[in-house]
């Protein structure tokens, strides 16, 4: 335990004093800030018209300002934080010859990898929490709406999911830094996997759906085929952590959304209900809807870390 704490403290120190962290933090803080500012200005103009809206505070995070909302921004580029913090964590030590020194000290070998992972998670948490707090304070001043208890809870859950989502990519990059000796290879491999899972899987889902259940553009498509097509698209795209994450956070941050599925998949009664009754969902119900998504996200994060843990423990370290 003591070794774990020493490694954790050293890594945390390294993260906070590194240029890459400062650059990353500046970039993400700036973009989130601008996005929320735009959303805030937009909201202020429309607040009279939206007099009936509840949860206006959360709209700071979910309203697309210029191009995307804060929530969408984190789902697109949040993984970069994890990748940047982890891609050279083990192989840099190997290259400079400090890994052998570390593992020949009287600490358990897992203290090294646990310390590194936990320091990364702590950095991610501090980064996200501070950005959300800054935006909240800013929104408070700009829009002048005070968050209710439920909104605070929703933000809290949003933060937890986001920390796991970004930690997943931290885990992936640490795994690659264990597997590949070269820092360039491990960084490229983790970025490639990120781009593939985040952007190409959703494209691939469409291709797969159209191949299995082709929709005819000229003739009217049978409802069964339409449903099949949509179902395949949704299932395939769920293998992307980004889709899992954005579906989960959309529901949590926006109480007006009642399903993760598309409108095609709803039964007629549901369609009528959702268009007639514009009442927000209570928090418990929102959580129930995205519970599978959250569980899956947390599970793949843990599985990913477990794999890197096992590989590292079994590996022979010579330098």
């Amino acid at each position: 335990m003591q070794g774990l704490f020493v490694v954790f403290r050293k890594e945390l120190c390294d993260h906070f004093s590194s240029y890459r962290f400062v650059i990353l933090f500046g970039l993400i803080a700036m973009v989130s800030f601008i996005t929320s500012y735009m959303a805030g200005v937009h909201m202020k103009e429309n607040l009279e018209a939206l007099s009936k809206t509840r949860f206006s505070f959360l709209m700071l995070f979910s309203t697309p300002g210029a191009l995307f909302s804060m929530v969408q921004f984190v789902s697109f580029f949040g993984p970069l934080i994890g990748l940047v913090l982890g891609f050279d964590s083990i192989n840099r030590e190997r290259a400079q010859g400090t890994l052998i020194k570390l593992v020949s000290q009287p600490i358990y070998r897992d203290a090294v990898i646990n310390g590194k992972f936990l320091a990364g998670v702590a950095t991610i948490s501090i980064l996200l929490v501070s950005i959300v707090l800054v935006i909240s304070g800013f929104g408070l001043a700009l829009v002048g709406v005070v968050p209710g208890i439920e909104e605070i809870w929703r933000l809290f859950i949003y933060l937890i999911i986001s920390i796991f989502y970004i930690s997943l990519w931290l885990g992936v990059s640490i795994l690659f830094s264990i597997l590949f000796k070269s820092i360039a290879t491990s960084s490229l491999a983790s970025v490639a996997l990120w781009i593939f899972l985040s952007f190409f899987v959703t494209l691939g889902a469409e291709v797969a759906a159209n191949a299995i259940a082709p929709m005819d553009r000229k003739k009217e498509t049978k409802p069964e085929i339409l449903i099949k097509n949509t179902r395949i698209k949704e299932r395939v795209s769920l293998s992307s952590p980004m889709v899992l994450y954005s579906k989960a956070t959309e529901i949590i941050i926006n109480p007006m959304r009642k399903t993760t599925g598309s409108i095609v998949m709803m039964m007629p009664m549901e369609q009528i209900l959702s268009s007639r009754f514009q009442n927000p969902l209570p928090l418990g119900q929102s959580v129930i809807i995205v519970f599978p998504h959250m569980t899956a996200l947390i599970a793949i994060t843990l599985i990913c870390f477990a794999i890197s843990y096992l590989v590292f423990i079994k590996q022979e370290i010579r330098t």
């Binding site: 400079q96 009287p106 022979e316 010579r318």
Partner: protein, 250 residues
Amino acid sequence: MDADTIIQTVNLTKRYGKQVAVDDLNLSVKEGEIFGFLGPNGAGKTTTLLMLLGLSQPSEGSASLYGLDPLRKATEVKRLVGYLPENVGFYEDLDAIQSLEYVANLNGINKEEALGKIDKLLELVGLKNDARKKINAFSRGMRQRLGIAEVIIKDPKILFLDEPTLGLDPEGAIWFMDFIASLNRDRKITVLLSSHNLSQVQKISHRVGIMINGKMVADGSMESLAREKFGVGDKEYSLEEIYMEYFQEV
């Protein structure tokens, strides 16, 4: 096995695929000895040291240090053994004191004790004036001095030194060997020293072992090896002559 044998390997073997790195090694080192571990590059010396430290798993056979199995009692063994690897690495953006502090923390030495120790150690290895210099500005010789300071901060009973004088200037190499001899003399530290600098090894070691292709081909004091190879004679043989004789045989 003698009572004062503290490092012992029994039929220790390591294979990487079909290649045998260490072949059926039976080694014993007594307490308080400096054991010169010789052999050409790739003979399996480093692999042996790694197996003794529990960092590498033997394919066959076993090792013990003070009766402890390095695989099962890894932390205890690492508490007893200080290992200075060939080409020791440092966190380049730390200074000498910070680097020593990190190692002291990893060894569970508390802060005040560590600071006192660091001060003494820097004095001892002659880095007192460079204590606050970043390590990326260190020369090879200074790095090696800092390396040995990091290893002895935990007060080890055994030292494993892998090519410690590689790339040092003659003066630095002589200082280093003298320093090791003084550690052995004053602190009663047992030393396993692998080196190509034969005249230096001859000067300080009590016993030498010559390892070629994973096999220990000779093991004993300098006189007994000379007697074995050249018969009894008036001539004093240097370690270099003995080494070459063994080397040509294989």
